[in-house]
């Protein structure tokens, strides 16, 4: 946009600008698209991030407020673990909810993988019992069969069929790209077996019909930046069942 006003001798520093977080709006969206499309650009961004990390040394520490660690631990233990609830009672609901959504996911996978057009009205009877469950067939191109994702908005549970998408020294990270065009991380896929997530509040609204799920290959532990840094190996759009 404002690039046109810059003299010609000013080089393209978009990788560094993205790494620093200088860009916003359309400039940022454009740089993010380049990251997905140009491997060299993504590598440049990563190199800049590594160099700039030296600045963390200069950042003065400040004593954190009391109680944050306790709060984090309470969150880790989950709402059912509040002191008033006896340990034994904690188990029932998560297990029951887990089982029912596994059952739902299995049923849906069966439906999705049937040779029926997804857009047709056929799946209605199954989905009608609850609010619109969404599925995506995450296409891996020639690399293998698509990965099926099933999202149940009622429980915020997102499940994916097993797929080994990343080498052992890499992590496969799942992203949702909704209306803002910016990838938001949903988490890392398991190297083997099915993956399941409880989608955080921020991302729940993004998981809607038409939103794209994409998998990128990241350093182990996932993108250190909060945005995809490696190649996208699979993607597909969510559709209601």
């Amino acid at each position: 946009m404002s690039d046109e006003t810059a003299p010609d001798d000013i080089p393209d520093m978009a990788a560094a600008e993205l790494a620093l977080g200088l860009l916003d709006g359309e400039d940022r969206a454009h740089a993010l698209r380049r990251m997905l499309a140009e491997h060299g650009f993504a590598q440049d961004v990563e190199r800049w991030r590594k160099h700039l990390a030296a600045l963390f040394d200069l950042w003065p520490a400040m004593e954190a407020p009391r109680g944050v660690l306790a709060r984090v631990e309470r969150t880790i233990d989950g709402p059912a673990a509040s002191p008033a609830v006896p340990a034994k009672r904690r188990l029932f609901w998560p297990v029951a909810a887990g089982l029912s959504s596994v059952a739902a996911a299995v049923m849906l996978v069966v439906i999705v993988t049937r040779p029926l057009p997804l857009s047709g009205p056929a799946p209605r009877p199954v989905a009608a019992a609850h609010a619109a469950i969404l599925v995506a067939s995450i296409d891996r191109g020639k690399a293998g069969a698509p990965v099926t994702a099933v999202y149940d908005p009622n429980s915020a549970a997102l499940r994916l069929t097993p797929a080994a998408l990343a080498e052992a020294d890499r992590s496969a990270e799942l992203w949702v790209i909704a209306g803002d065009g910016v990838p938001h991380s949903l988490g890392l896929l398991k190297p083997s077996g099915p993956s399941s997530f409880t989608v955080g509040h921020d991302n729940r609204a993004r998981l809607a019909t038409g939103a794209v799920l994409a998998v990128s290959i990241e350093p182990v532990g996932g993108s250190p930046t909060g945005l995809p840094t490696g190649p996208v190996v699979a993607k597909g759009a969510l559709a209601p069942v």
Binding site: S2, T5, A6, P7, I10, P11, M13, A16, E17, L20, G21, L22, L23, D24, R49, K50, H51, L52, A53, A54, L55, F56, D57, L58, W59, P60, A61, M62, E63, A64, P65, V68, L69, R71, V72, E73, T75, I76, D169, S171, G187, L188, P219, V220, G221, G222, P224, T225, G226
Partner: protein, 217 residues
């Protein structure tokens, strides 16, 4: 930089990281023994869902990460909430951390900075000036022995930044430490957006040339 630059890249007169963190906790003093090894152990233990390792990790790093969150968020409650999310993320992701691939503090600090920036952008907070009651960013890199980073290249950048024009260096540093966009940088310095972009791009181009030359040696 002449030969042997790698061994003397942090002159003895440089400000000490330890001096800044003295007030934070006993943990930072204990860190002096072998900060990185203890940090790696705490992070790897956290990955094994070891709660005491996680508490140790928190004791070692919460002051650093809170400093990051507070500066970028600009308000205490928000910084506290972001810090909570940061440690939750660390708890969930630590299992995949590989000590040989990344410095632990870079891994942790990057999560904190990105979370804080996300919060800031989501609020659409615009501050025309930096917040007041925050400790100043250090001017000089700390001694290698006192830094938790200890990455091969971590001191390259400091040397290369010193070679930039003042306005270039200031803008790049502000972007990093305050988590602000071009628009906010321009507003703060009271210069047109195009001017700010030109300062920063020229500075980054020079920085890149310096980094590439140093790495190539």
């Amino acid at each position: 930089m002449g030969s042997g630059a790698r061994d003397c890249r942090a002159p003895p007169e440089r400000a000490s990281f330890g001096a800044v963190t003295d007030s934070s906790s006993a943990a930072s003093r204990a860190l002096a023994a072998d900060p990185r090894a203890r940090l790696v152990a705490a992070l790897v233990g956290t990955g094994d869902e070891d709660r005491s390792a996680f508490r140790d990790l928190y004791a070692l790093t919460s002051a650093k990460l809170f400093g990051i969150c507070y500066r970028i968020c600009g308000e205490r409650q928000a910084a506290e909430d972001v810090l909570h999310d940061v440690y939750l993320t660390i708890w969930k992701r630590a299992g995949a951390y590989e000590p040989h691939r990344a410095s632990p503090i870079t891994w942790l600090a990057t999560i904190a900075r990105n979370r804080a920036i996300d919060w800031r952008r989501a609020q659409a907070v615009r501050r025309s000036s930096p917040i007041e009651d925050v400790p100043p960013i250090l001017d000089e890199a700390p001694l290698v022995s006192e830094t938790m980073l200890a990455d091969e290249a971590s001191h390259l950048l400091h040397g290369c930044l010193d070679g930039l024009e003042d306005n270039q260096r200031a803008a790049i540093r502000t972007a990093f430490f305050d988590g602000v966009t071009y628009a906010e940088l321009a507003e703060r310095q009271n210069v047109p957006l195009g001017t700010m972009k030109s300062w920063v791009r020229r500075g980054l181009a020079r920085l890149k040339a310096c980094l590439e030359a140093s790495v190539g040696e």
